[in-house]
């Protein structure tokens, strides 16, 4: 079920879990919009570092990185990633980075 979200003059099409339907519609406003429902008060450089790594990896490889790869590329342990994104790397960080919703037996 796709729904439209209007935020700061931009319109995003999202699914029922709040993931962007198309990675190409990502803009920086999207991160601001997601912030609240992901339980993040202010975005630090570390947040942006995770988001940028996810986006670069997705553009290059067509998949989201494995958690170990994300840890290695950012230098953040999983515990720290959870401190940054309380919902975790999948539901939190990937969603804010505009990546497709994680699939499989999750």
């Amino acid at each position: 079920m796709a729904t439209n979200v209007d935020f700061q003059g931009k319109t995003f099409v999202v699914d029922e879990d709040g993931f962007l339907e198309d990675f190409n519609t990502y803009t920086a406003e999207w991160v601001d919009y997601c912030k609240k429902e992901e339980g993040i008060e202010t975005l630090s450089d570390e947040h942006w570092q995770v988001i940028n790594v996810l986006q670069d990896y997705y553009k290059k490889n067509g998949i989201a990185p494995m958690v170990r790869v994300l840890s290695k590329l950012t230098g953040f342990k999983l515990k720290h990633i959870y401190e940054l994104f309380p919902s975790g790397p999948g539901k939190g960080a990937c969603k804010m980075a505009g990546l497709p919703k994680p699939t499989g037996c999750v």
Binding site: E21, F23, Y58, G62, I63, P100, K101, T103, G104
Partner: protein, 382 residues
């Protein structure tokens, strides 16, 4: 209904958050007689189908009454189970690994009233709420999955097929006439959640058509390399597709001749649905076990390649299962599990005894290992 807060503050989700506390310690819920005699049990007996007694070195006894359960149950039914436990068992009960319910009492004279109470309870439709049984050499509960109730990848239903099968095998739930225990399991797709790959008889949901490709959304919703890597037969490759609108998008191509309809790609990619009313159905497998008793654990083998979904009672499936159970009951020796029996008499005899047609679908053709399932010997019965 109006919103009623539990005290959680959505503006500060991490405030007062309790995590990583794990499950409650099982010691908190022991009946006193179990707690007192833990690790001191001497022997046990099956007094009658569904009723066990364990005797401790201290001389104490605990009587267990096992009853069937539909696994999927309402809060109302759980409250009724709690009422029975309050009335007869000082508020204690347990669930088994096959989702039966066990009520435990500490003296023999408490067994008869408990049994009478359990046996008297029925649903308005007439089925037993708490049928007593499931012990010894009989058929106990069917380990099963979500089916059409909750899952998005099933090829058949779980609760429906299980109810139909248990109705047919009900007398064996309340009896112990078989050569050994017979485990039946059900999984609604080849993900095989549960125990189908290692059960005496297994019911498995199966597709017969390749996935449909939603090219417009595929690249947006899916991580294409994951869908490609999800295929066990490498039937999927990446492809550029021109949509009706003229736009060129990244998508995939499914080689229909290589696809065996496992549905793994749909698990990874929502744009590859494959469920189909006529195509989907049931595969029956047989001969698996997990215990190490006499023979080593075995995988179950496919014995019926396809039975159509025939809701709501799946008559052809239940008839085939009951033929298999009857052939096993009359043919196997004492202590022989279903797979032990089939291997002793030879699978060619198994198909004859169970009146199951052998089709080419049953011959393994997956990779190198398939060769080892063919017969490299002249030992064969006509």
């Amino acid at each position: 209904m109006a919103f009623i807060s539990s005290g959680f503050n959505p503006d500060k989700p991490l405030e007062n958050r309790i995590t990583d506390i794990g499950p409650r310690d099982f010691n908190e819920f022991y009946p006193p007689v179990i707690a007192r005699n833990k690790g001191k049990w001497l022997y046990h007996e099956i007094i009658e189908p569904g009723v066990l007694v364990h005797v401790s070195e201290t001389g104490e006894e605990v009587y267990t009454v096992r009853v069937g359960a539909a696994r999927l149950m309402s809060g109302t039914l759980i409250r009724e189970i709690c009422d029975i436990a309050d009335k007869h068992c000082d508020g204690h009960l347990r669930f088994t690994t096959r989702n039966n319910i066990e009520f435990m009492v500490d003296s023999k004279d408490k067994v008869a009233p408990l049994k009478a109470d359990l046996a008297s309870r029925k649903f308005p439709g007439g089925s037993f709420k708490f049928p007593i049984g499931g012990t010894g050499c009989g058929v106990t509960n069917i380990v099963h999955t979500q089916g059409w109730l909750h899952c998005h990848t099933p090829a058949s239903d779980a609760s429906g097929t299980v109810k139909a099968t248990m109705d047919v095998l009900f007398k064996d739930f309340q009896d112990m006439r078989l050569p050994a225990q017979l485990r039946v399991s059900m999984a609604c797709c080849l993900n095989m959640c549960g125990a189908v790959h290692c059960s005496d008889i297994a019911i498995l949901g199966y597709h017969r058509k390749p996935p449909k490709m939603d090219h417009e959304y595929l690249d947006k919703l899916c991580e294409i390399p994951l869908a490609i890597a999800a295929c066990p037969t490498a039937a999927i490759k990446p492809k550029k597709i021109t949509l009706d609108s003229g736009a060129i998008v990244n998508s995939i191509d499914v080689n229909q001749d290589r696809c065996m309809y496992c549905g793994n790609c749909y698990t990874m990619c929502p744009s590859l649905p494959l469920a189909d009313t006529e195509g989907d159905g049931i595969v029956l497998m047989a001969g698996g076990k997990v215990s190490n008793r006499i023979s080593a654990p075995k995988f179950s083998k496919v014995v019926v390649a396809f039975i159509e979904n025939d809701m709501p009672r799946w008559p052809k499936m239940t008839q085939t299962i009951s033929r298999m159970v009857e052939a096993y009951a009359s043919g196997a020796r004492k202590y022989e599990r279903f797979g032990d029996w089939a291997e002793r008499i030879g699978w060619e005899r198994f198909f004859e005894k169970c009146e199951i047609e052998f089709t080419h679908h049953l011959i393994d053709d997956f990779r190198d290992h398939a060769y080892h399932t063919w017969r490299q010997t002249t030992q064969f019965k006509f």
